[in-house]
């Protein structure tokens, strides 16, 4: 019995669906260098890929439910669209990497991330094992909002099918499963206040050198808790460090002063509530 294929049956698109929805680069184009391959077959109202491309190589146009088309002349295979696609449906293929190998770049949002030089298991669209792949590059930048993009070298004949890699196993009790608030002594270099990037060492210095005795006094000296979240994230940790330094238990520490607004609100919203605002 022939199996039904395609995205609604298997959860990933078939080659026929991809070609119909997005097209497929010619082998001549593949021979010229890297190029983006879009595998976005459902008519979803979504277009960050179009906006992300500096070369105007991705076209959706109107209506926004059009499926993306790649202009193979304009595309240089830079891969910016790979991280921009919230559906993880864009890849970059470079069949010019070597005589026998091609590169496949794909978004990979699982920790732990592989490292350059690792040999990993390359998987198909459906998650089935295809071959071994060598990690050539891992890009994980703030510009991409930390959507990591992994590039694997695989045998050339597998390049049209390799679309991801097998997840790596987290070490027992390793990162990923740690308590958000770690037990024990916090190293001086640990960032406690993430908004203002204040370390445990700076907090200790506020207590030891600058005579701070409460969470508020720490905040005024080193800005821990002064940022966007107003201490909602770090106050407990600051309190814990303070307690360890001063011997006063956390529940007996003086709390900070609560001030409006409860959540950040714009000047416009604030001004527009009553008379006088022009909204």
């Amino acid at each position: 019995m022939e199996r039904n294929t395609g995205v609604i049956y298997e959860g990933y698109p078939s080659m026929a669906e991809i070609i119909a929805a997005n097209g497929w680069p010619s082998e001549e184009r593949f021979a010229k260098g890297p190029i983006a391959v879009v595998e976005c077959v459902q008519e979803i109202p979504c277009n960050p890929c179009e906006a992300a491309c500096r070369f105007g190589a991705v076209e959706i146009g109107t209506p926004i439910t059009n499926t993306p088309q790649i202009d193979s002349e304009k595309c240089i295979g830079c891969g910016v669209c790979v991280a921009a696609c919230s559906g993880l449906a864009i890849f970059v293929i470079d069949k010019t990497y070597s005589e026998s190998e091609a590169l496949v770049s794909f978004p990979f949002e699982y920790v732990p991330l592989p490292e350059k030089g690792d040999e990993v298991e390359a998987l198909s669209r459906g998650g089935e094992y295809l071959c071994q792949g060598m990690v050539v590059k891992v890009v994980n930048t703030r510009k991409n909002d930390h959507t990591p993009v992994v590039t694997l070298a695989v045998p050339k004949e597998k390049a049209d099918d390799v679309r991801t890699m097998k997840r790596l196993v987290l070490p027992e009790g390793g990162p990923g499963f740690e308590r958000i608030e770690p037990e024990g002594f916090l190293d001086d270099r640990v960032i406690v206040c993430r908004c203002e990037e204040i370390t445990a060492g700076e907090i200790r210095s506020a207590v030891r050198v600058e005579h701070a005795t409460t969470v508020t006094e720490v905040k005024r000296r080193c800005r821990a808790g002064m940022g966007l979240c107003q201490g909602r994230t770090c106050e407990r940790l600051v309190n814990r460090i303070l307690s360890a330094e001063s011997g006063i238990t956390p529940d007996q520490q003086k709390g900070t002063t609560s001030r409006p607004p409860v959540r950040p609100t714009t000047f416009g919203e604030l001004a527009g509530v009553d008379e006088g605002g022009k909204r």
């Binding site: 005024r220 000296r221 000047f267 001004a271 009553d274 006088g276």
Partner: protein, 389 residues
């Protein structure tokens, strides 16, 4: 505590820590006492402006300028980064009537040695790109700057400690007695003996004054501030409306064209960028006792007035508001002075200028106590001028 101090400074805000520091620097034995922390009251609920532009021409401006001139070297002197920046300041002028008042003010200030200049419409718009396009003109002051106000107080206090001064924090003063040439200061942690006292308690100065039998005319004038999120550079330096002068000094027959909400809260637009890539929005003024709560009506008026001058603010977020108490005196001038009680000095009543005036105040108090001549005649700051006692 049986040690005898030459000088006991009561109050560890900007003025008190400065007074303690300059006394310690002069080589005398100092103790700095506060019922709370360093910078626990007005100095932690203020902005960090170091301005001469908002002073009155004449003595007020010259006193402020002398203080401002002490700031550039302070971070090094105190070995503490007080975040001093000096980019000047810009007054915004709303119409021809304000412009005429500002022109006269500019002329008078220049005669007092303050470097200021008028900007026409095109110049002011070019100066800050995000300003409302209808701002009529501007008045620029070249030397104005800002600091992190709490950092200033910590810097002074810690430097005082390094010079051998004693910090007695979280120690409330309960009573003051005098025996021969010594004061006996009763505190929660026992008596402290000192030859001289500096009352640097700001809004709390009258209470300490009463303990020494002095009636000090300082009153709390509340002000509220909005804190913005970290964002792009909305303006590169301090920007405020010239109408601020008119609300500060409650003077002149000129009425600003403002909403009822802005008028009743005495709100005048003040924008202060900070070293932390965000900014503060002020200002309001009201006599409401000693509460430091925030009022939604005041916050709304502050936001409304700010958007009038910087429309781009409408979409930027407010993350916090706070409220502080300015130590106000009837003539808007501080009291930096000896008193009829020998050895008892007052350094208080700086209204909204205590951060900016702290170095020169501390220096002057140290000079008075040491019997040295002050850098200029400070009789306009005398306690006697109020005709008390």
């Amino acid at each position: 505590m049986s040690r005898t101090y030459d000088v006991a400074v009561i109050g560890a805000g900007a003025i008190g820590t400065s007074s303690a520091y300059y006394n310690a620097k002069a080589g005398v034995k100092v103790i700095l006492i506060d019922g709370g922390d360093i910078a626990d009251s007005t100095s932690s609920r203020s902005d960090g402006n170091i301005l001469v532009c908002d002073k009155q021409p004449g003595f007020d401006a010259r006193f402020a300028k002398a203080s401002q001139d002490m700031f550039p070297g302070l971070s090094d002197e105190l070995s503490y980064d007080i975040e001093w920046t000096q980019k000047g300041s810009l007054y915004l002028i709303e119409g021809p009537e304000e412009y005429a008042i500002a022109e006269q003010f500019c002329k008078d200030m220049r005669e007092s040695g303050i470097d200021m200049r008028m900007l026409n419409h095109e110049e002011v718009i070019a100066d800050e790109p995000y300003l409302a396009r209808d701002v009529y003109g501007g008045l620029e002051t070249m030397t104005d700057g800002s600091v992190y106000p709490m950092g200033l107080a910590y810097g002074f206090a810690l430097a005082c400690e390094r010079l051998g001064g004693t910090l007695s924090l979280h120690n409330r003063v309960l009573a003051i007695g005098k025996k021969e040439n010594y004061f006996i200061i009763e505190t929660e942690q026992g008596p402290i003996i000192a030859k001289n006292i500096v009352n640097a308690c700001g809004v709390g100065a009258p209470k300490i004054g009463t303990m020494a039998g002095l009636d000090i005319p300082v009153q709390a004038r509340q002000g509220q501030i909005l804190v913005a999120e970290q964002t792009f550079q909305v303006a590169r330096r301090k920007v405020h409306e010239f109408g601020y002068m008119l609300t500060k000094f409650q003077s002149g027959g000129y009425e600003r064209p403002v909403s009822e909400r802005v008028r009743r809260n005495e709100v005048a637009f003040v924008f202060e960028p900070t070293r932390s890539n965000n900014f503060l929005i002020g200002s309001s003024r009201s006599f409401v006792g000693e509460t430091v709560d925030n009022e939604i009506d005041v916050m709304q008026a502050l936001a409304e007035r700010a958007i009038r001058f910087l429309p781009v603010l409408a979409d930027i977020k407010v993350i916090r508001a706070y409220s502080g108490l300015r130590p106000f005196t009837p003539d808007h001038m501080p009291i930096v002075s000896a008193t009829p009680v020998e050895g008892f000095y007052i350094a208080a009543g700086h209204e909204g200028d205590g951060i900016g005036l702290s170095p020169i105040t501390g220096q002057s108090v140290a000079d008075m106590i040491a019997g040295r001549e002050t850098f200029m005649d400070l009789s306009p700051l005398s306690y006697e001028r109020f005709g008390k006692n």
